[in-house]
Amino acid sequence: MILALETATMACSAALCAADGSLVAERVSLAGPAHSKLLLPFVHEVLAEQGAGWDDVDTVAVGLGPGAFTGLRIGIATARALAQADGSAGLAGVPTLTALALALAGAPEALSGRRLVPLIDGRRREVFAAVFERADEGGVRLIEDVAVVPADGLAAWLASRGDVVTGGDGAVLYDELLPACGPRAAGVVAPTAAMVGRAVACGVPGVVRGPDAVLPIYGRAPDATPRAARNGAAAAGSPAGGAA
């Protein structure tokens, strides 16, 4: 079975999926950023509910983002450490936008020919977006990789991508800005661990394996300016105090 985690957005979830990607058990909280408090209890609950032991888990899978940095890292650090301490379970990651796209492909709003555009809230009135289309055998194909789109430019950005179906927490948040060129999938409100487990099981493009590759996709550089790029080193503030 696949133990899947997803923490890139305000949604925090853990799921057990069968080898074919079908959902066995899941816990989801949409309540907000309490991932440190919720994630491992969720893992414990889905395992306990199925009477599953670690011998039953052959892969630990996690959504790689982009999303909110701190939550994203909690999920990825958790997945990495579980796999490390397990020793025999594999570690896999999938871009969260790809997992969402696969969920969009199965949504009733995703009529054939419509492009799949998952949207994740990037805060600061920006969204992370990517464009997919349906591939054979129920998979998805990436057409346009992660872009950071300002909310105010979202309608125009989407309009230039043709007939689309959107979904994800970014689509819910900016629902009123979405143009008439395509519906929002009502059932795809946030990325969840079940979507991650299914994406890894289906082997969608972008799935990576092993600790060297299962690392966050931030989609954005940290807010910090190297000294050399600033005028005058005297202005350099130490945000957190240096030593130990």
Binding site: A224, P226, A233, G237, G242
Partner: protein
């Protein structure tokens, strides 16, 4: 054996500790990474912890010759520190412990610093000067790592005073260390900084920083250039004087003959020398941990864990980190009843 993980600031560290013996302590410093920003950037630190922590854990285990089945518990820094950085270590520590069905011991970072002295065989009660970039206090350690605060800083931390002084002097990063190296070549009597140690039992460093600013303003560029080491030595001596006098006075007030130091500032060579001399003159016994145990390291977290209660598997799964001691209460682990039950 206890596996310890520490990621509260900009060092990624893991250690294996047996009782009061540090079997391995791996520290992957991010100094070079943050030097380009002139200070620790929390988001940059958190990203680096995520990349490094598992490798550092593996290295600590292998250097100690420890396998997973040799461990009796996992210890991890819960706070205080940079919240995003702490959460990477906490998620890692909790997950390692959970998968191995081990108890978890959450450790307060300051208690970790204090516990470093147990590697040297110090015995409680003792007074401990805890000085770093984020903290400056005089702790009366009553037993194990339980302490009461006898004095604390009223403004900046000592490490901040060093870093800000280094910046005023145009030195590189990390400022405290550069200042220390420069001061070693200078005359501490060159520039006059306020001699008076603040009244009462608190530390205060912001006045010294202002005095340095005015001292530099009063000199021309050529004079500063010629006497940078002397000014650095004078400034460092003023900070050190306050730390030493308060520590010695604190020991006397508490009637304790045993003195210890902890925290990154305890790596300062001027402080180590002056405190050594003062304690010798006063007949106090001084515990001066090696530099590797003064700056942030997981070895000290493992040492502290030996004095702290463990949370049994799986009661710690909902444990959260805390950025400041004030938040510590809110981050208490969930009760046994709420763990393992479905949440809305």
């Amino acid at each position: 054996m206890i596996l310890a993980v520490e990621t509260s600031c900009d060092d990624t560290s893991a250690a294996v500790v047996r009782g009061r013996e540090v079997l391995s302590s791996i520290v992957s410093s991010q100094n070079e990474l943050h030097a380009q920003f002139g200070g620790v950037v929390p988001e940059v630190a958190s990203r680096r912890h995520t990349e490094l922590v598992n490798e550092v854990v593996a290295e600590a285990m292998s250097e100690a010759g420890a396998g997973w089945d040799d461990l009796s518990a996992v210890a991890v820094t819960q706070g205080p520190g940079l919240i995003g950085a702490l959460l990477v270590g906490l998620a890692t520590g909790k997950s390692l412990a959970y998968r191995r069905r081990l108890p978890l011991i959450p450790v307060n970072h300051l208690q970790g610093h204090i516990a470093a002295n147990y590697a040297l065989g110090v015995r409680a009660p003792f007074v401990c000067l805890v000085a770093s970039g984020g903290h400056t206090l005089l702790a009366v350690v009553e037993e194990g790592v339980r302490y009461r605060v006898a004095a604390k800083t009223m403004d900046d931390a000592a490490g901040e005073a060093f870093d800000k002084g280094a910046r005023l002097l145009g030195l590189g990063y990390p400022g405290g260390r550069e200042l220390d190296e420069l001061a070693a070549r200078g005359d501490p009597g060159f520039a006059r900084f306020p001699r008076a140690v603040p009244r009462g039992r608190g530390f205060s460093f912001s006045g010294l920083k202002t005095a340095l600013l005015y001292d530099l303003r009063a000199r021309d560029e050529a004079e500063i250039e010629a006497h940078r080491a002397d000014i650095a030595a004078s400034y460092q001596a003023a900070i050190v004087r306050q730390l030493v006098e308060k520590t010695v006075a604190g020991a006397a007030a508490e009637g304790l003959r045993s003195v210890a130091v902890a925290g990154g500032v305890a790596a300062n060579s001027g402080l180590r020398r002056a405190l050594g001399e003062a304690c010798e003159a006063e007949g106090l016994q001084l515990s001066l941990p090696p530099l590797s145990l003064c700056t942030d390291n997981a070895g000290m977290i493992g040492l502290a864990a030996g004095f702290l209660p463990a949370l049994e598997w799986p009661d710690y799964l909902g444990l959260d980190a805390f950025a400041s001691d004030a938040e510590a209460k809110a981050a208490r682990p969930p009760s046994k009843r709420s763990a393992g039950r479905a949440r809305p």
